[in-house]
């Protein structure tokens, strides 16, 4: 007897069910007149955040020199081994990459190379759509990777901070004292 009391009547059940149906029909009907949220991709390209991880570039310092010092840290950090290079010394005494190669067919755009780079040379850009027909075309050489700007931190110049004498003499770097004449501090 108790059960029967709790159980809603047949008419009640039918009405509940019908109102549920009407509710869902009404919900879809209101959606019909809403403006679609779809972004029409090739026609409209959403502006990507500056730090989006896409195609990799090699940047230059403000004086126009290559930032990359061919330290192999990016290639060491790369989890898929897609970066390879050969270091050499340039005529101005700076280390640089004789050749620098990124295989974008392998790259997973993790950004670890960018984090490893001590000179901010290797950077990821928001550009993500660069499909190609042939997989060989994904191998980018140094001249394909080099750009003529400083990327995310355009003012940064590694050689202005580093203690090495290449480029500018000792004691002329930012935040660096004159070299101490050891003879003047003798007791």
């Amino acid at each position: 007897m108790e059960d029967k009391k709790d159980k809603p009547g047949l008419l009640r059940e039918v009405l509940d069910g019908a109102s549920g149906l009407v509710g869902s029909y009404a919900a879809t009907l209101t959606h019909l007149f809403r403006k679609p949220v779809t972004e029409q991709y090739p026609d409209y390209k959403r502006p990507m955040p500056a730090r989006t991880r896409g195609r990799i570039i090699l940047t230059r310092s403000p004086d126009g020199n290559e930032r990359c010092v061919a330290c192999y840290l990016c290639s060491g950090a790369c989890p898929v081994n897609c970066i390879s290079m050969q270091s050499e010394e340039g005529p101005d005494g700076r280390r640089r990459a004789a050749w620098f190669r990124i295989n974008f067919a392998r790259c997973i755009y993790c950004g670890l190379c960018e984090e490893a780079c001590p000179t901010l040379a290797i950077q990821l850009t928001p550009e993500f759509a660069f499909c190609k027909d042939a997989i060989e075309d994904f191998v980018y050489e140094k001249e394909d990777l080099l750009v003529d700007h400083g990327g995310k931190d355009a003012e940064y110049d590694f050689y202005a901070h580093a203690g090495v004498a290449a480029g500018r003499p000792k004691g002329e770097h930012i935040g660096e004292d004159e070299p101490v004449d050891v003879k003047s501090i003798l007791p």
């Binding site: 149906l21 029909y25 919900a27 009907l29 019909l32 809403r34 403006k35």
Partner: protein, 330 residues
């Protein structure tokens, strides 16, 4: 002699027109469904191929034609190949008895806007829609795939159950119209469409015709998330497309049948009859699409319970009430 030739010519022209219109409508019904479903889900449907995506059905058709028609190992080859044609064919044949408008006069000869004005039109439509069950059941059975088999079995059980409710919903219509001839049934609704005169029958008819066309919320034979695609899992290329042509032709057939039995056919104020008929026919598929966007899929036991415990008794009661009212002379 010329009379016979002319008659055959008119017949052929009528068949060609009906076939072309139905196929064209079915193709564009797919586009309408995808577009409308998109808008119901706050996105655009296909809009890349041609203006507003209007060439999409042609692109789809070309793609389907060019795809490889795979017949898996282990299938019962003959039945496997014929099954999609049964589904599409049964749906198409039913259009033979569908009247599209009143008879008009061309060059002093009466031209009925129906291919065959038979006195058992209602029964013929039923017979053909029952035949479509064979396509689904055999397609699923011969695929040599457990999901297909389950889909086919479900399809057969569901369509047979709801065929019954569908038939019971139409008995009061035939009783009130005093005829099984579709043209007579339409003419019986010149004053009041049966949707208003027979609301219960109309409700049963709409629900069971949803089940009859295997559409959401009754699309258990092809329930994607449990049966992959059900009875057409193993089909590819044009045979797969044929199942879909069958489904969409079936939707249009259902629209025509609903228009004829319940919405008053071509009767309506102001507009020419053929336009009224077209509007009514298209309103039903649009409602089916709206339903697809709104409702979730039923569980199998709920489906069977609804069919056997709800719709069939309700249909029987409705027949009794209608009979009593007719006997009382109302």
């Amino acid at each position: 002699m010329t009379d016979i030739l002319l008659g055959i010519l008119v017949m052929l022209v009528r068949m060609a027109v009906v076939l072309a219109v139905v196929f064209g409508l079915a193709a564009y019904m797919i586009l309408v469904e995808r577009k409308l479903l998109g808008r119901f889900q706050v996105r655009y449907g296909p809009n890349r191929v041609g203006l507003f995506g209007l060439l999409q059905p042609i692109a789809d058709g070309l793609k389907m034609l060019l795809k490889e028609d795979i017949v898996p190992d282990g299938v019962d080859r003959r039945i496997f190949l014929v099954a999609p044609a049964i589904v599409a064919g049964a749906a198409l044949f039913a259009f033979a008895v569908v009247p599209f408008g009143p008879t008009f006069t061309l060059f002093g000869r009466p031209v009925p806007q129906v291919i065959t004005d038979t006195d058992v039109g209602l029964l013929l439509i039923f017979g053909l829609s029952s035949l479509a069950v064979y396509g689904v059941a055999l397609g699923g059975w011969t695929s040599d795939n457990k999901y297909s088999l389950l889909g086919g079995v479900r399809g057969a059980a569901q369509m047979i159950s709801y065929e019954l409710a569908l038939g019971l919903a139409l008995v009061p219509v035939a009783m009130t119209a005093h005829s099984l001839n579709l043209t007579d049934i339409v003419n019986a609704q010149a004053r009041l469409p049966f949707a208003i005169a027979q609301p219960v029958a109309f409700l049963i008819f709409i629900i069971s015709s949803l089940a009859e066309t295997n559409r959401i919320p009754f699309d258990l034979p092809e329930a994607e998330n449990e049966l992959q695609a059900g009875f057409h899992t193993e089909y590819s290329g044009m045979r797969f497309a044929l199942f879909f042509v069958g489904e969409y032709v079936n939707m249009i057939l259902l629209g025509s049948v609903t228009a004829i039995f319940f919405l008053g056919g071509w009767h309506g104020p102001f507009l020419p009859p053929i336009l009224w008929f077209g509007l009514k026919v298209l309103a039903v598929p649009v409602f089916l699409i709206w339903t697809r966007a709104s409702l979730p899929r039923l569980r199998y036991d709920q489906l069977m319970a609804l069919g056997w415990k709800c719709l069939v008794p309700l249909g029987l009661a409705n027949i009794l009430v209608t009979g009593a009212l007719l006997a009382a002379g109302l």
